[in-house]
Every structure is written in structure tokens, then in C-alpha cells.
Symmetry: none
């Protein structure tokens, strides 16, 4: 059997509901999509529940499932995935925390749990911490800036545990908490001790930082401590190549998605101009995807703009991003031809009228180069794909791609 | 996101097959349902396998699944659920048995395994046992009358086991069996010992009962012992509120369903006139449901008449019950409005031409107050709903209700 290359395109938050501003059509239904309309004629289609019917998926859990890893097994704790999203590349045994820059007085009484929330100096403060905090009792502490006041902290060293309590008191006018071990193990005791030393060391570095002195002189609250919560140990993720046999490349500009792809061992490409927003240069992504398809068996392209438009409640912007995705696909096929297997779907539904992830299933199409119009679909949108033959879960996608590209091992004899 | 209240209506044994008496229509297809036809225009619909395709569900296993509890994990042994259906409220560690009133001679040789089957005095005999048997070796024995000769017996106390053999010899002209421990544990030994003392104590109480003396004087076989079988230990069920966050009320007149709802911690309401039969006062149920919806997030209404009509093979009666359910739904909505999420389905299929539960999937509809006619359905019946987008299992229902009522926590980021 001829083995085809595989192109997987995920438009974040693609799924939607009938939308008043679009006269009852969904953004996908309203968008002009000549390339997708052409591909759908050789596709099977249907609806996909990213996790399971009724489950409101996040982008992290959904991408794990679509890449073939059951999130109920592999998604252990928010902390590790927050750190991955903030740029950390984790190793098994790392303990990750979600954190806030906060403002405290000299006795570590919290005055502002978010140090004013908008902290322009956050990237520089994180850099200073990574330079000056160093090791504590043989444990390396690493700091990653997320958005606004958010910081992920990762501890790396022997014998750590995530069974430790938060240092975040979760309200103001209370002192930063001492972390305590939550079970009787030596590892938890050691980790809590490291964490308490870390808090004092972070306070020393930050309260002496020139950046904070400048903030105070401007009348801004200094970001002079980090409050930690949600310890989670990272147990590692299997490598995509190991469980699929596929050499994989990922084209994405979104930190969380890039982080997950890196952890799975994919080569991650962020071409210049790709921003992870509605203004992203999708031509640049098309070119990067086409080039990567020359070298790899499997190329994943992630587009964030659909979700960004949805969270803004901007139906027209979502239609526009979908139309640009259609042209991106056309541009890829102009370069590489159409002798490949292509899946196009979303990672979850974010209706523009809701502005939040919902649990609705997501439209899914699978273009097959050898397939006559078996499902008889005439367009790719939420209503039309329901007529197709597929009713799948996210966890089925990687198997479908391997199966239809003639790359699946036979299960049995 | 606005959180909607939830109404779940289950018509027991609703699903059916094309029926000769109805000119090839199903009872649901033949029934006049103006309210459901109105609701279906804002619904998603499809077919539901209560457990899994091909599995013939009972009402107990199916309701567990629909309430979000996997029966393969939580349905441990018939005995416990028989006791629940007979009115017991079980505690973890209780050991429950299915039992028969039977007739024995003085040396405990069984003459009639069912003591004539129809035992008018059964409720009074059970009351007498609950008053007079008392504790045995610190173990409390509780008796619950089911139907006809059937009695559930529950043992409550420290250190009990369900690894004990039956006392029911399963044929006449044999003596009541001594229960034996089925494994080497002290708990099994103790339980078998208690059970053997219990059998003799039950015989003493029943053979001296004035009610039995009266039966003998009428030429009826005395119900002078209880034969026990199918020991099962109750391991407890999670509380619905704990795993869904929902304050729940249940409107039902059927012992087994009421029992399950009570074990899940729901408030159970049986309005006067609700009988659990084809003659049940569904207006009274409508009023109870509407009132409960004012106080609760989630109201479950169970109607047994559809199943009762099916077991009788009475297609016209089933059509009539369905039409009265339709009016019940209309009456609820007249009271509470239509700004809520409503699921209507059955717990299994009981075709009137089969008169037994079958494994066919069940029609399912989910009314969404914010949903235009996305699935394009024009009626609610087995044939039409197949055009809808859902193909689910019972275990998905609670997730779907949480998801579409905007009450699901996001899984991931």
C-alpha cells in the first residue's frame, strides 16, 4: 500500500453555533471556502467530541487527545501545562507551580495579590530571577512569564514531590504561607523546605531589583514576591514518533501548543509573521508547512485566530480568519500537490455569541486522495458535515490519520 | 455564561419498534405530541444506547448510567439494588439478600418455595419480623417486602461479608440450606453464622405469627421462613451533588427509581395520585416538577406507565401515556417558562410486541433554549431522531446536561 504524507490543520475554537450577525449561519457556514469545498468532495466528514460528549475541552487536553494521548491518563495537573505554555520544556520528575507576581510588605504580608496585574517589567524580572536565584539545596528553580502577572515556576532536582501546600494565601492582608508537606514522605518535606527558602530568596532578589525601585518611584506596587499554588509533578509524555512512527513537524505561534508539540518531540516551526492572533501571516504558515512536508511524514498546522476572534465576540473576524485558512490550504496544495491525507477540524467550540469554550462537538473533515465522494458532502460546516459518516472523539484522530495514510499496523492477523 | 436549570424526563421503556397495531408506526411515532413537536425545533436529537450497543439494560443499570455513574463500576450485585427497590436506604458495608417467603415443615424441609406466591399478609409479616427478630450477634437484620412472595433482607453491622452461600435450596422436598463461608475470612464465617441463626429466628417468629395461623385455618400454606440468595455487599454510591454540583430533586412513584435517587442524595417527591402505573396522575407530577424547579438546579421526572403498557403488550395504552407525558411537559413549561435545558428519553426499549426489555437504542432529545433548529428535526420518534447529530451512551447524558446548561467546568486551559 502506498503511504501518504499527512497534514493536520487545527483552527483553535473553530466550532460555532448559528449566529445572529451572520443571519443564522455559523462562521464556518458563512465563510467563502473554495479550497475546502473542493476538498470536501473527496472527504469523509462528521462531528468530533474533542474529549467526550458534554465535556468542555481546553486547548491542552484537546490537543493531547487529537495527538492520540488520553488526557485522563496524561493530563496530570494544571501546573505542568501552564509551565509548558509559558515556555518550559519539562523533564519527568519536574515539579511545576502556577504563580502570581504579588506585592508584599517587609514581613511578607500580601498587599496586592497581582502587583497591579499589568506588569510591563515582567519579562525582565523573570530574567533577573533566572540569573540570580540559582540553586537551593541542589534544586534548580526556573521561572517563566505567562501573561500579565502570571509566572510559572519549575523545580528540577532529585527527590521532589508535588504533595506540598500552596504559599498563596489567596487573600490580601495575610502573610505569604509557609508550604507544608501534604504526606509523610521525605520528598514532600524536602520540597516544602526548598519552596520556603525559594520564597525568601525570590523576595530578596525582587525587592532589590532596580526595576521594582523604578516601579515604586512611579507610584506602582512593586512585584516583589511570587505566590505559588497547584503543585504538579510532570510524569513525562510519550514521544509522537515512538507511538506513531511518524516524523512530525508543527507550525504554530501559540506558546501552549508549541510547548505540547515540543514535549511530544515534534520539530516546532514559528515562521516570521506568525503571531498566534487574528493578524497572523497565514501565507508564511503555508510556506512553512509546505517546506516541512518535504521533510516530514506528518505536519501539524495550528491557527489561533479563530479562537481569538471568538473570545472577542467578533463573528466577521472569525469568518475572515476561516477564509484566510482556506487560502492557506490552497497555497500549501499548490506547493505540494494533493496526494496526501488532510484532516481539518477545531480543538473545541468557542461560539462567538458565548465568547467561551463550550462542550458542543466540532466539525471534522478528512480528505482522502483515493476517495470518491463517498459521504456526498457539498460543503464543510457544522450543519452539512452532520450528514457525513463520522461521529468520533479527539482520541480517534491520530488512528484515522494513520489508518487512511496506509501507515497503521494491523491489529491482529 | 448564563447557567440554565435542567429538566430530565425519562419515560421508562419508551423506545419501541414498528408496531402492526399502529400500522407500522412506533407508539412514539403514533402519539400526538404538540409540545414535543414544538420543543424538537430547538433541540439536538439522536439515539442513545443506555449502556452500550447490544446491551439489554435494566432500569437500575440504565438510570445509574444516565445519572453519570458507570454501572460496570457501581452496580455490584442484584441483592443491594433489589433491597433499594423494596425501600431500603443502604449504608456502605450493608450486606443485602434477595429472599422468598416459603413454607417449611418443622425440620425446615421446603414444601413450597413461594408460600403460595400471592401472600396478602406479606406487608404485615415483614412488619412483625422487623419488630421481633432484633439483633443477632450485634448484627441488625432488616426486612423489606418487594412484590408477591419476594422479600429483601439487609444485614447491618461490623465485619460482614457477601462471600456466603445461599440458604435457598432452589427445590422443594429439601431442607433449608446452612449458609457456608465462601472464602477463608473471619467476616464470611461470621456472616454465615449470623445468617443461620437468622433463618431459625425468622422461622420461630413466623411460625408463631397469628397471621400464619389464620392462613393455615383458611387452607393456605403458611409463609413461615425466608429463603435467601445472592448476597451482595453495598459499597456506597457517590452523591449526585458532589460530582455534578447540582441540587437535585426527583419526581417518581416507582420504588426502584426512588431508591436509586435517594441513594444519590436527591430529594424525592411522590405527589398524591402518582402511582407508577398507566393510571398515574401526570398533572400532579407536572405540578410537583414545576414547584421543585423553583428550588433546585436539576429536576428529574420518571414516568413508569410507558413500560407498564409495553409489558402488557398494549400499544394503545402506551400511545396514551406518551400523549399524557406530552401534556405533562406542556403543563410544566406553562408554569416555569422555556428558559431551561430539557432532556427527554427512555431508560431502555420495551417493544409492545416483545413485552420485554430489548437492547435497541432509545430516542433521545435535548432541548436547548439558545439553539435554532440546528439538527433540522421535525418530530420526536425513533425514525426521525436518527437524522439528528447525537449518537450517545447513557453515561454521556449528565455530561451533556452540564455542558449545555453552562455548568461544566472547563477540562484544561
Amino acid at each position: 500500500m502506498r503511504q501518504y504524507k499527512i497534514l493536520l490543520i487545527i483552527a483553535d475554537g473553530l466550532g460555532d453555533r448559528p449566529t445572529r450577525e451572520l443571519n443564522g449561519r455559523t462562521p464556518l457556514g458563512a465563510a467563502d471556502k473554495p479550497n475546502l469545498r473542493e476538498l470536501i468532495r473527496s472527504s469523509v466528514g462528521g462531528l468530533m467530541d474533542p474529549i467526550a460528549p458534554g465535556v468542555r475541552a481546553g486547548s491542552d487536553t484537546s490537543h493531547l487527545a487529537i495527538f492520540g494521548l488520553d488526557p485522563f491518563k496524561y493530563y496530570r495537573g494544571r501546573g505542568a501545562f501552564e509551565a509548558i505554555g509559558a515556555g518550559a520544556v519539562l523533564e519527568p520528575g519536574d515539579v511545576a507551580f502556577r504563580g502570581n507576581f504579588a506585592t508584599v510588605e517587609g514581613d511578607l504580608t500580601v498587599i496586592d495579590r497581582r502587583a497591579g496585574r499589568k506588569i510591563e517589567e515582567a519579562d525582565d524580572l523573570v530574567r533577573e530571577l533566572n540569573e540570580k536565584v540559582g540553586e537551593i539545596d541542589g534544586v534548580k528553580a526556573m521561572f517563566y512569564h505567562g501573561t500579565e502577572h502570571r509566572v510559572a515556576v519549575v523545580l528540577r532536582g532529585q527527590g521532589l514531590s508535588d504533595k506540598v501546600s500552596d504559599t498563596d494565601p489567596h487573600e490580601v492582608n495575610r502573610r505569604v504561607l509557609e508550604s507544608r508537606p501534604l504526606d509523610g514522605t521525605k520528598e514532600a518535606e524536602r520540597t516544602a523546605e526548598v519552596l520556603n527558602k525559594l520564597t525568601r530568596r525570590v523576595y530578596e532578589v525582587l525587592s532589590q531589583s532596580e526595576l521594582n525601585k523604578l516601579r515604586v518611584s512611579k507610584g506602582l506596587p512593586p512585584a516583589n514576591v511570587i505566590l505559588l499554588r497547584g503543585a504538579s509533578i510532570f510524569e513525562g509524555l510519550p514521544k509522537f514518533k515512538d507511538y506513531t512512527g511518524l516524523n512530525a513537524g508543527a507550525v504554530s505561534a501559540t506558546a501552549l501548543i508549541k510547548g505540547i508539540c515540543k514535549q511530544l518531540g515534534m520539530d516546532v516551526i514559528t515562521p516570521p509573521g506568525a503571531t498566534g492572533g487574528v493578524d497572523s501571516d497565514l501565507n508564511a504558515k503555508a510556506d512553512a508547512a509546505a517546506k516541512t512536508l518535504e521533510e516530514k511524514d506528518f505536519v501539524f498546522v495550528h491557527v489561533k485566530g479563530t479562537d481569538a476572534a471568538s473570545h472577542d465576540g467578533n463573528a466577521r473576524a472569525k469568518v475572515d480568519v476561516i477564509e484566510r485558512i482556506d487560502r492557506m490550504i490552497g497555497r500549501i496544495l499548490d506547493r505540494v500537490g494533493s496526494e496526501l491525507v488532510i484532516a481539518f477540524t477545531g480543538d473545541h467550540t468557542t461560539p462567538v455569541e458565548v465568547r467561551e469554550h463550550t462542550s458542543d462537538p466540532v466539525p471534522f473533515m478528512l480528505y482522502l486522495p483515493f476517495q470518491a465522494n463517498f459521504d456526498g458532502l457539498s460543503d464543510f460546516n457544522e450543519r452539512e458535515v452532520k450528514k457525513g459518516s463520522l461521529r468520533i472523539r479527539g482520541l480517534d484522530v491520530t488512528n484515522l490519520l494513520l489508518g487512511y495514510s496506509n501507515r497503521a499496523e494491523k491489529y491482529g492477523a
